[in-house]
Symmetry: C2
Subunit: 244 residues, 2 copies
């Protein structure tokens, strides 16, 4: 970015912006095999009483990422999370507040996409704002262009799962290969790979270490608990690794 020919400024006035950050917060409910996204009910105009992605306007001295973390921490309490910038939506007319009276202040949205651990994510209800996890297929019509943003974010989530170890950011410290497989299945859909092949590939890569501990959940043979070994993963960083 940055300083251009000021001479042309007179004939082509610059736009003034408010910058918003919107978060797509995903989590996976492994008990019900559902991919969830966090929505909040808007309390004020425009789009009052419509569901929307949790967002905020950037404050003085605050970085974009800081703003993204701020929203997150206002809505949920969580220990582990993955967060990355998604895309910037900035065309004119995407926010009704830009209408004539507000005289050339434009609203631009930098969207972030997050993945949190469902089991430990505690929603913060402030008694005023509606807030809820929505299964992805049941998301209603949202405020602004948020449906579009969400669609884009879902795409990104699927890509990330395939070639980066985001899954381990949202699994418990110790997990079974069944847990891992189920997470992949609910996000990527059935049939991306069968369990035994998935299992074999992951184990061969060598960054999952068997802790020896076993866990038993109802019927069936107890499963080994694994841990993601970040050290062992390091060599794969930035490589075109494929998890599926």
């Amino acid at each position: 970015m940055a300083g251009r020919s000021q001479k042309k400024t007179t004939s082509h006035p610059l736009e003034d912006f408010k910058v918003g950050v919107d978060n797509i917060i995903f989590s996976v409910d492994t008990t019900q095999n559902r991919l969830l996204v966090l929505l909040v009910m808007r309390q004020e105009e425009p789009f009052r009483d419509r569901w929307s992605l949790p967002g905020t306007l950037v404050r003085q001295g605050e970085s974009l990422e800081e703003a993204a973390y701020r929203i997150l921490s206002e809505k949920i309490r969580v220990n582990n999370l993955y967060l990355e910038q998604l895309y910037t939506f900035g065309g004119p007319h995407r926010d009704p507040r830009e209408s004539p009276e507000s005289y050339h202040v434009r609203y631009l949205s930098v969207s972030y996409f997050a993945l949190v651990r469902f089991e430990e994510a505690e929603l913060i209800a402030d008694g005023v704002t509606g807030i809820a996890w929505y299964p992805l297929e049941q998301v209603p019509q949202l405020a602004f262009d948020h449906n579009q943003i969400l669609k884009y974010g879902y795409q990104r989530l699927r890509n990330k799962l395939e070639y980066s170890p985001v899954a381990f950011e949202v699994l418990p410290e110790l997990f079974t290969l069944g847990d891992l497989y189920q997470l992949y299945t609910t996000v990527l859909g059935e049939g991306f790979s069968d369990y035994s092949n998935f299992r074999a590939r992951l184990l061969k890569l060598g960054f999952l270490c068997d802790t020896g501990k076993k866990t038993s959940r109802g019927a069936g043979r107890p499963a080994s608990l694994y841990r993601f070994d970040a050290e062992a993963f390091a060599p794969f960083k930035d490589k075109p690794l494929v998890f599926v």
Copy 2:
């Protein structure tokens, strides 16, 4: 983006932004096997007389993408190009103009990454601004955080080449498989695949059609001219296709 609790505005004033768009414009000089990036010499403060990525501030009523195209068309004349949004850099203190006197106006940069056809890209020299293609390895220290942005863009370019058909956006309508291979080689580096394997894979995919025409460049057997068949490529859209 969009409207949040206005009640908190008093204690936490919002930031006002100017939004800039910076372009990383790549091209490949196949005659010299070099990957080039377009730089312009800054004419005003800050960073006067430093090379930088071509950029502009967004004008009233202009979308981000429009601004990106505007820069491009001010700097080069070109028919074919590929353009996509890269990343948004928006931390405070990335632009010296944010300093005390300018009173909370922040400069945010939405970067775009473009690939143009070198042979037909005609630089527009306005007699004032320096403008030049730089081989990637020879890029000097740039203004702002532009070296960082460039690094990120180069990464993206390599990824794009591997799993999407961007190459065909910058090759002539008719091209030889040698041309294609050379483009991949200069961007990805020697040894990403040998020619005959590269060739076999691409042809098997079936979206390159042999026009029957031949071209002869100096010594050696004349090469067939191929055309990229967008129709035939359609089924691969969004698939995890690999070109190398």
